[in-house]
């Protein structure tokens, strides 16, 4: 075997696992899901090509309202996560030095090595009727009886923000870390105040981190299942829960596949828009 043939063979051997993985587990399954979403069951085991599943989504208010609600709440959760984590990331990146800095950064990561189920369970213990907060309020005298804090939108929001925090803090700390102190000082020297320095120097510098954090948080929130279902209870619908219902409970795979495709479309659209607005590419932000 000459050298050229050997190089070719090794390239082929390295390519093979990648192609099997991407084609077999990513491309074909999504294509198949799309194909299934475009058919309608006309009789037992007989299907016809149609847009009926998509029509059903748009004509049934429950479906598109859940979809819109999921999108709006995910957007809000992303904004809140950014708002809460920005000062924290700034503090870690710019106000601290050495050991304490490394320690607090590590402390930010620790909760996220625990499964999402455990984290959500913790919130349930805190917020339920017989939970810690309810008892605390009664003990202090702010409430006369048990207070139920689960099963409403605010609680879902608390859980979603909590779950997303890591994915915002890490990119923010990384970008803020690279901001030179001298630039901030120069801003003050030129007569800026805290607000104008923040607006014209710090935020523009942190923009890549802000965008990649927001994209990841939005995507994860949109696709979240546990937090809305466990903290939100039965009446609070989340789109992924709708997909689960169609697939597993109702066994209506055609409609479920259409829902899946709509959710994928929405998340791709948002990620794409975010990348375009910030002039970044997927390869740069994720790779």
């Amino acid at each position: 075997m000459n050298l050229r043939a050997a190089t070719q063979l090794s390239l082929f051997l390295l390519l093979a696992p990648l192609l099997v993985w991407l084609i077999g587990l990513i491309i074909l399954p999504h294509a198949d899901m799309f194909a299934i979403s475009l058919r309608e069951r006309v009789a037992l085991r007989t299907y016809e090509f149609s847009f009926a599943n998509y029509t059903e989504f748009f004509t049934e208010p429950l479906y598109w309202r859940t979809f819109a609600r999921t999108a709006i709440m995910s957007t809000l959760a992303t904004a809140l996560t950014l708002l809460i984590s920005f000062p924290v990331s700034y503090y870690i990146a710019k106000m601290l030095r050495g050991r304490l800095k490394a320690f607090l950064f590590l402390l930010c990561l620790v909760p996220f090595w625990v499964s999402e189920l455990v984290r959500t369970f913790g919130w349930m213990i805190l917020l339920r009727e017989s939970g810690v907060f309810s008892n605390l309020l009664q003990w202090v005298g702010l409430a006369d009886g048990p207070v139920e804090m689960l099963y409403n939108d605010a609680t879902i929001m608390v859980g979603l923000v909590y779950t997303s925090m890591l994915f915002m803090v890490v990119p923010l700390v990384t970008t803020l870390d690279s901001l030179e102190d001298a630039q901030v000082e120069a801003g003050y020297d030129l007569g800026g105040n805290a607000f104008s320095v923040l607006r014209t120097i710090i935020i523009p510098h942190a923009m890549p981190g802000i965008v990649s954090g927001c994209i990841v948080v939005f995507m994860l929130t949109l696709g979240n299942y546990l937090t809305p279902v466990l903290l939100g209870g039965k009446d609070n619908l989340w789109f992924t829960a709708q997909i689960y219902t169609q697939f597993i409970t109702r066994f209506n795979w055609e409609l479920g596949a259409a829902f899946g495709f709509l959710l994928l479309g929405l998340s791709s659209l948002i990620v794409w828009t975010g990348l375009k607005l910030s002039r970044q590419t997927l390869t740069e932000t994720m790779g």
Binding site: I26, P29, L104, F121, N135, L226, F247, G256, V271, M286
Partner: protein
């Protein structure tokens, strides 16, 4: 707003207070889970009934301890089995991918690289259902054309492994490729000029250099598989992995046994996470 710029004392105090509040918020849910694992009561809620280790060690119903609960232990085993397979597969593919993308040039390279990143931006539920749909399409086709029923293509542990692998492989690829990028190829060339074949050079020089990243990637893959819920939920068969079993119990109404289990998970994954930080630090 940096230490060298003077700020009013009150502002500094408020800022520090905000940071403290943030960390309280971060730690609180985990702390209550841990504390209530020792509550001598049937429910993981107040009032506090005193300290007990029953939820770990009690052998009888109705206060069955974690270490005597056969169904839970079985689901831990299922999760462990799945996580091992996912780890082996995604580290193997991650390593070949790293060599492919860092060392080779081939047509459509940047397109394939982008495609490789896609699983990171596809919601887990959708990865799950697309694999469910596709595998049952294959299974139905096999059944209708040849009359064979391939059971593992229906929701099963096999599908869970495949589903988790489909996105964890991206993460292991990124971790291993980042390390390979820093490798000085002169070392490999030196080995070859001393008479080693190319494969021997890679095996004895490059792979040992990659070891920290490979171990790190393996730990991350194991943890991500162990705690995965969204993708697993859609593909799970009759053997329930831990997250699915816990979810079922949470919905039924839970006992402090779940807290005990959660505490155990925290200890194990916290330890593994620290280990991975340690292993990664060694490389620099």
């Amino acid at each position: 707003m940096i230490p060298s710029i003077p700020q009013p004392k009150s502002f500094r105090a408020m800022y520090a207070a905000y940071i403290v509040m943030f960390f309280v918020y971060l730690v609180m849910p985990l702390a209550v889970v841990a504390i209530f694992a020792f509550n001598d009561s049937m429910f993981p809620s107040l009032p506090w009934g005193g300290f007990t280790m029953d939820w770990f060690f009690n052998p009888t119903e109705p206060r069955l301890g974690l270490f005597h609960d056969g169904r839970l232990l079985e689901s831990i085993w299922t999760s462990f089995f799945i996580a091992c397979w996912v780890t082996v597969l995604s580290v193997a593919v991650g390593t070949t991918n790293a060599f492919l993308f860092e060392r080779r040039d081939f047509p459509f390279k940047s397109f394939l690289y982008m495609l490789m990143l896609l699983p990171l931006v596809v919601p887990g539920v959708i990865l799950g259902i697309s694999i469910l749909v596709f595998s049952s399409t294959i299974a139905n086709w096999l059944e209708n054309s040849f009359g064979i029923d391939v059971e593992f293509l229906r929701p099963s542990t096999f599908l869970v492994i495949v589903g988790q692998f489909s996105f964890i492989a991206t993460i292991t690829t990124l971790v291993i490729a980042a390390r390979l990028r820093k490798f000085d190829t002169a070392l490999e060339e030196a080995a070859q000029s001393l008479g080693a074949s190319r494969l021997t050079a890679v095996w004895t020089v490059t792979l040992p250099y990659l070891k920290p990243a490979i171990i790190g990637a393996a730990i991350v893959a194991f943890l991500m598989s162990f705690e995965n819920f969204n993708t697993t939920l859609m593909l799970v068969g009759s053997d329930q992995p831990l997250t699915i079993a816990m979810y079922g119990r949470l919905r039924e109404g839970s006992t402090p046994e779940l807290n005990a289990l959660s505490l155990l998970l925290m200890a194990v994954s916290g330890g593994l996470a620290l280990l991975s930080v340690f292993v990664q630090r060694e490389k620099d």
